[in-house]
Subunit: 230 residues, 2 copies
């Protein structure tokens, strides 16, 4: 289902770093080959090894990026929410996606055709610089991820994840809306669902966290940021 871009998406996209500060011409040229597509919850977008012909921006919903092992286990590499790009790095690589992507929820995506976008980039080194910066940030995140997987225990990774995803709400408490079912978050932080459940309970027992269905509240984020769980 490919259609032109909605008005609202055009405006939102223009504010993201990759496109900010462009004049009208430049911008319209950049998005001229972009199309909207809609995914149902669970719908598959691309698989590891598929030829990479486009990259994406999430206008609405959550996309699950994951690797699958030969045994059928899957490891969620990232959950990509609103206003974020994914798979943009692939445009300069072996031309194959290194991961799988599925819609975690109902989602609306903006797809950028790879060839057209490369042409657009090639016209101006400044445009490339934006992309380079975005990719650097992405790499930095991946290194952090490796670091956490090796240097931290499950409980620490969970806490870290919660802190990274918390927002102060009306009452001043720090709220975390889980962006996916718990088993998916579990895979994201690198533990099994059962372990995830237990870890979460440990955190509530200690008093770090209050749980209320799919939303959590963190008691004292600042104090916690240094904390190690024992």
């Amino acid at each position: 289902m490919n259609t032109p871009l909605h008005r609202a998406d055009l405006e939102a996209l223009r504010r993201v770093y990759l496109f900010s500060g462009l004049d009208d011409d430049e911008y319209l040229q950049a998005v001229s080959h972009a199309t909207t597509l809609t995914l149902a919850p669970g719908q598959h977008l691309f698989s590891q090894g598929d030829p990479a012909e486009a990259f994406y921006w999430v206008a609405e919903g959550v996309i699950r990026l994951f690797r699958a092992s030969p045994q059928g286990d899957e490891k969620v590499i990232d959950l990509v929410g609103q206003n974020r790009f994914f798979a943009e790095a692939v445009l300069f690589m072996g031309s194959r996606y290194p991961i799988n992507a599925s819609a975690q929820s109902h989602a609306r995506l903006i797809a950028f055709d790879g060839n057209s976008f490369r042409e657009w980039l090639a016209q101006d080194a400044n445009r490339c610089f934006r992309l380079l910066a975005a990719m650097s940030a992405r790499m930095h995140k991946l290194v952090n991820e490796i670091d956490r997987l090796t240097l931290m225990k499950g409980a620490d990774r969970l806490l870290q994840y919660l802190l990274d995803h918390s927002d102060p709400d009306e009452t001043g408490r720090h709220k975390v809306e889980l962006e996916a079912p718990k088993q998916v978050i579990a895979s994201r932080i690198g533990v099994k669902p059962e372990t995830f459940s237990r870890l979460l309970h440990k955190l509530t027992d200690i008093g770090c966290v209050e749980m209320d269905g799919t939303t959590l509240y963190i008691r004292d984020p600042e104090a916690m940021r240094q904390t190690r769980i024992e």
Copy 2:
């Protein structure tokens, strides 16, 4: 210790992807702000959080890139050997190195000044494309790394590492020269030294691998590539 580039390095650098296919002018301009520096074994190059003013190419030796935990443990992210770049992604980021770098052995590096190099890049989108490609490849490697850390057991990661670093030698056997002390390789694949030792023995017991001090021989790489250790 900063000195101009050696003749041999100039020629070798010219053959690497980032610079290949440039005319003399372009190339000389690219390396005009590059300097040679020499590190003694164990010498520190930069720390996580240091302002990033340069990136590097390894002319000789091995550089250890690593993260350190507050507890003092360190995780080796990568061992960068001859003819490879590192820290190039940082030029477009927060201007701080996200990792530590030390010389694992005696090493000769070519340092590229960040500002000058960015200027050089800015002159031509094609130059940026080379860098984008290099960074994509790097990201792909990081994703693989995460995948292995979460989806595979220690023995599998070790085997994988050995396969990735094996070369067929004169006799047709597949040889692996360990690029660093075993404890460092251990950290690289994400296990403790003691575990590394035990895993290596398990592999030799099974008959996958022959060990001879710092060099290893893999019996049947092709068969092994699919293998899971149980």
